[in-house]
């Protein structure tokens, strides 16, 4: 084999190793995130939300990867692809914008927590608008995932209040999405069911699913 051929082969092997090898298993409950994407989201989630501090839950403890998986599943295919490209960009842009340290060019998910935080800081304050926008996109996915965790919302005093939803005339017409009309469970008698109509009490009970677990 010629020298250029050897170099090309070495580069190919390196690319395969960088892009595909060495990732751990993903959570089998996930529907969308691949093992590579799962590793990236976990790594970024804990860089944005490290364990401890004023809100003790870390990004992974707040189940950001599970939320990212649900979010991807809810997106139309083209937009899902955009988010996936964003993940690839963040994972491998350390080749162009390396983290501090001699090993800062490794893929994002392989960096130490401090290196990952430094990388994200670099993206956040870049003078290059597309790089800032990419960071905002990633942080939006992570932050909204963090805020999907009831314990996080409770810690911030922002959990939604309980609301008893009244039955209105339109509820006699529409089934839940994807269901046949035979699944409509309301009748005319439900229209007269009394529910509170007064302003909510900010100190009132939280929406079921958001309350603190019993001590």
């Amino acid at each position: 084999m010629t020298l250029p051929g050897l170099i090309a082969l070495a580069l190919l092997a390196w690319a395969v190793l960088r892009f595909a090898a060495g990732y751990g298993p993903r959570d089998p409950a996930l529907r969308q995130l691949s093992a590579r994407e799962y590793a990236l989201v976990c790594a970024a989630a804990d860089a944005a939300f490290p364990p401890g501090g004023v809100i003790p839950l870390s990004g992974t403890q707040a189940r950001i990867p599970a939320h990212a998986d649900r979010y991807l599943a809810a997106l139309p295919p083209r937009n899902r692809l955009l988010i996936r490209l964003l993940f690839v960009l963040i994972e491998h842009a350390t080749l162009i914008f390396p983290a501090p340290g001699w090993d800062g060019w490794r893929r994002f998910s392989a960096l130490s927590l401090e290196q990952r935080m430094a990388v994200l800081e670099g993206w956040a304050h870049s003078r290059f608008l597309p790089r800032r926008l990419a960071f905002q996109g990633l942080r939006a996915v992570l932050t909204m995932g963090y805020f999907a965790c009831p314990a996080v919302l409770r810690a911030m005093g922002l959990a939604p209040l309980a609301i008893e939803t009244p039955v209105v005339a339109a509820d006699l017409l529409y089934p839940p999405i994807g269901q046949p009309k035979s699944s409509i469970r309301f009748g005319v008698a439900d229209l007269d069911r009394a529910v509170p109509r007064t302003p909510l009490d900010p100190r009132g009970p939280l929406q079921p699913g958001f309350e603190a677990p019993p001590a």
């Binding site: 939300f49 004023v54 809100i55 979010y71 911030m156 939604p160 339109a170 839940p176 046949p180 009309k181």
Partner: protein, 513 residues
Amino acid sequence: MSDPRTGSGEVRVFADYQRDFTEVADVVVVGSGPCGAVAAYELAAAGKRVVLLEEGPPFTPADFELEGSLSMARTMREGGLRFTMGTVMPTMQAIALGGGSLVNSAICNRCPDFRFQEWANEADLARTSRKDLEPHYDAIAAFLGIAPTPDAVQGPRNLLFRDGCKQLGYGSEPCPRNVRECRGSGECFTGCRARAKQSMDISYVPAAIQLGARVLTSVRAEELLSNGRRVTGVAGRVVAPFSGAPGPRFRVEAKAVVLAAGVLASPLLLQRSGNLANSSGQVGEQLQFHPGTSVLGVFPDPVDPIFGATQGYQCLHFLRDGFKLETLWAPPGVLAVRMPGMGHQFKQELLDLRFATVFDAIASCHRSRGRVRERGKSLQPSMRWSFHPDDAAILAHAVWVMAEIFFAAGARKIVPGVASHADEMHSIAEAESLRSRPPRARDMVCASTHVFGTARMHGDPRHGVVDEDLKAHDLDNLYVVDTSVFPLSPAVNPMFTGMALARRSALALAERV
């Protein structure tokens, strides 16, 4: 409203479609957003056989998602990730029965007369003034219970805006909204669990059904059928909710077509239907937005922002300067995206949200124009739009005014969200840089839900797509009835004016068909 099932109309959902089908009607209305819903109701009330088409599904409270990103992914076109090219700006359009009214904050402002004057001058209009539209505004207001937001559901974060404006001598007022018995959940953007917001899916649409309208949801209009100067109907396909997977084909044959698919979809339908109604060349042109930006302020005491109307107060003081100010609340995760910092510092900042409120500004941007075309054969829009520096300067001034209001109301710091300036400012003196060194367009984080202009109304057929009854100049029985007909920004939130124009148009059409 009594039981809407007692009328002669019906609603069909995705599960109801098994095979290709054809419907016959007097009028087919494409789009069930605020304009289409009003038109469908008025035509049904006039005794016309109406078919109302909607690509999205009806959402019940069981379908609402409280978390912001999942809610947007389900209720917004392109999962809420639609954006303009040129100046990159996110823009959101709903895909649901009731259109944007399902997930907007219900603000119903009447377009000020000075702006109607500008419309008249711009587009050679003779009978589209505030006075002309007042009876239509009044009828819709009565139907939807539009009223100023009461103090009882303002909550501290809205009242702080009022107090700040008062300190500075800027007039402010409670937002008029299509809401009955609001409970102040602040959840307008993810669907009103209290069923207080009179979105079209629970107001005009069921009323139209009771009057005999047939409402077909999960159907996508793909082509307007025509023959010479007449449209003869609409053809398209059933589409699965969320995935958009195509199902059976359908066709609606009608004596008239009302196109109310929205500013980005209506011109696309005209373009893909043989470039209909476009002798003026204006279909898809003159794309305009209300770019909006926001400032977050943190107060010394808890504001408990989870309570209070989503957008309860507004300031119309600067309308003639080109911008409007409002209070704003959104799912906390959406607002948190703008908080500065990383890691533990970010977490610390997040604790401030309980002490925080947000003000936003929307700008009339007459110099910033663009165009919309179909992206391939996708039925999705490709938008190119440029934020003119003079318009960006107006929005930048609004950022400074919001900073003023925050500190006048007692804020301990603000997060202006401007890339070229400090992440946080702790006094009006620090914020002065927003006035002395105004941010440029690329420095501000902007988004827009208010869109206009792509099928504009004009008195002269050479320069516009529709006349003042919103009838296409080029066709005898096609009406474009959404905010794409606005020749310019309405200066305020566009929904109410779109509905008033839709009502006038529907009454005119009912006389003719």
